[in-house]
């Protein structure tokens, strides 16, 4: 795999916090134009992975290239929407000013805002469908709208890659749907590569092309067809999971409805799974026994 044809390339990458290995032996690549979910249980290192890709956390081993450059060196071409947009709840800035900071926020010195910059901000807000909210303060907007402001802010500098940490958490169903719709358009109309951290895949299933799953300290990448496997997802989440296909062709990931109380979960010990998964990167069949 060439570093020019793939958007994100992991080579035996590992991240530690102190002496504790969060994940290691990450060797996979994510193609341009894909929509990828990073999935895994709480504490598996999903946000850590995003931070490593942004170069905000150093690697303990291996290498990580994003947009053809070592992680952190192409951040001006990455749009990043952290989960903390919920923290802006009391911000006094207007939506428009917040989006503008995505364009001008890193510049020291006195620079009057240009007409072109204002037009760029308006364009991004129109694309996201929040142009009518430009003059509202962030504190006056709902969580879903505040998040779309954050997406517009990430979008305004024309990124090639958009990264979102838990974009659907804390949103009601309609806002989740609106966000997924925006992501689908960014991918289809602008050809943007998109990566999201998510713990619930269902809403994203229609647009996902693949997933990075963090299982027992190893990240793997697989195309969507291989990820949507009941056995794999059961290992991944540590609880019984079923993949259901409706007559319309929609797929859903659900906890098994009638799980018997006393039945032992289909789980391996950490050591066992580590053996199963070692050197089987991205094949998606690691769960076969």
């Amino acid at each position: 795999m060439s570093m020019n044809s793939e958007c994100i390339v992991f080579q035996d990458a590992a991240v530690k916090r102190g002496d504790h290995v969060i994940w290691q032996h990450g060797t996979f690549s994510i193609p341009y134009g894909s929509v990828t979910a990073i999935v895994g249980t709480n504490g598996a290192g999903k946000t850590t992975m995003m931070k490593a890709e942004l170069g905000l956390l150093p690697l303990a081993a291996g290498s990580l290239h994003v947009l053809g450059k070592p992680a952190g060196e192409a951040n001006h071409r990455i749009g990043y929407v952290p989960q903390s947009y919920v923290a802006n709840v009391d911000s006094n800035l207007t939506a428009e000013q917040s989006v503008l900071l995505g364009l001008t926020g890193t510049r020291f010195g006195i620079h009057p805002v240009t007409r072109a910059q204002r037009a760029k901000v308006r364009e991004a807000m129109e694309f996201i469908g929040i142009a009518d909210k430009a003059k509202y303060r962030l504190s006056e907007l709902s969580g879903g709208l505040r998040q779309r402001v954050a997406i517009a802010q990430a979008l305004v500098c024309d990124p090639k890659l958009l990264m979102l940490d838990e974009p659907l958490a804390n949103l009601d169903l309609a806002s989740q749907r609106a966000t997924v719709h925006v992501l689908a358009r960014l991918n289809k109309e602008l050809g943007m590569t998109i990566q999201v951290v998510a713990h619930d895949l269902n809403m994203l299933l229609p647009i996902l092309t693949g997933a990075v799953y963090l299982l027992d300290g190893h990240p793997h990448y697989a195309d969507m067809g291989k990820v949507l496997d009941s056995d794999l997802l059961t290992h991944l989440y540590g609880t019984q999971v079923q993949v259901v296909t409706t007559p319309q062709g929609d797929m859903f990931v659900t906890p098994t409805p009638d799980e018997p109380e006393n039945q032992p979960l289909d789980m391996h010990s950490a050591k066992e799974v580590a053996e199963l998964h070692h050197h089987t990167h991205g094949t998606g069949n690691a769960h076969t026994r």
């Binding site: 903390s84 900071l101 995505g102 890193t106 510049r107």
Partner: protein
């Protein structure tokens, strides 16, 4: 007549034209400018408690300086700056710092009292450090205030956007290459300076009402940062100047009237906001 006398002083115009009053008015202008601008950022960065604490951390510096025969502002400034650099280096995650900040605040206040008791001159100055003494500001202090204001405005003009960006969302700003550690330390260091020049007006205990409260009222009235800063400075200036005039008319300490007016502005803004959102 009993001990409390709120009678109107008909000679107030002549009080106002005294030289020390002139100094107080000019000092008020310098303080309002610095407080209004930094108050906005303090609220945007959710660092209001840290700002309040800085004034108290400066207290032992102020009384210690009197003890050593040094200028009060020097001791105040050195201690506030030291505290600011420590708080700034610890990062912006205020919620995790509240207990540490509060503990240091209480200890510093106690230390300030201890230093004050060590000498009679420090003991005499204790009240003016705690509650302000805007009527005793000297020509030298005013020159210092003016220089500080000029430096503050130049520095803020340079770091304005990155500071605002890191105040809105530190993680995104960091990912985009804003040096957030430097922004934190720079913000806290400037804050220490603002506290140092504002303490002579209302003292360490009342400083919140002068630096934060006008900015909070301005935030309710204005949507853009620049407008909010201008309004905050204006409200702060009106509070100080009206405080000076009223304290010349009536026998009440200027600090009390300044803080009262500032609080009234905020209460009115809050009330109007509540009525609007109904």
């Amino acid at each position: 007549m009993n001990a409390i006398d709120f009678s109107f002083d008909p000679e107030w115009m002549s009080t106002l034209s005294a030289p020390f009053m002139m100094n107080a008015f000019v000092a008020g202008l310098c303080i309002a400018l610095a407080a209004g601008v930094m108050g906005y950022f303090t609220i945007a960065r959710r660092s209001t408690f840290a700002a309040h604490a800085l004034a108290h951390i400066g207290l032992p510096g102020a009384t210690g300086a009197v003890l050593l025969g040094l200028p009060v502002s020097l001791g105040m400034g050195v201690f506030a700056l030291g505290g600011a650099l420590v708080i700034g280096a610890l990062g912006k995650r205020v919620s995790e710092r509240e207990i540490a900040t509060g503990t240091v605040l209480a200890f510093a206040t106690g230390l300030g009292l201890f230093f004050a008791r060590l000498s009679s001159s420090a003991s005499q100055q204790m009240q003016s450090i705690l509650f302000g003494s805007i009527l005793t500001i000297t020509d030298g202090q005013i020159i210092g205030f003016a220089i500080f204001d000029a430096l503050l405005l130049i520095l803020l003009a340079i770091i304005y956007r990155p500071l605002l960006f890191s105040s809105l969302d530190e993680q995104v700003a960091q990912a985009k290459g804003v040096p957030i550690g430097l922004m934190n330390v720079a913000f806290m260091a400037i804050m220490a300076g603002v506290i140092t020049i504002a303490v002579p007006a209302v003292g360490t205990l009342l400083i919140f009402a002068l630096v934060i409260t006008p900015a909070a009222a301005a935030n309710i009235l204005a949507g853009s940062p620049l407008k909010a800063m201008i309004i905050a400075s204006a409200l702060c200036l009106i509070s100080i100047w009206a405080g000076l005039v009223l304290s010349a008319m009536f026998p009440a300490p200027p600090s009390f009237i300044i803080v009262t007016i500032s609080t009234l502005f905020w209460a009115i803004a809050k009330g109007v906001e509540a009525l609007k959102s109904r």
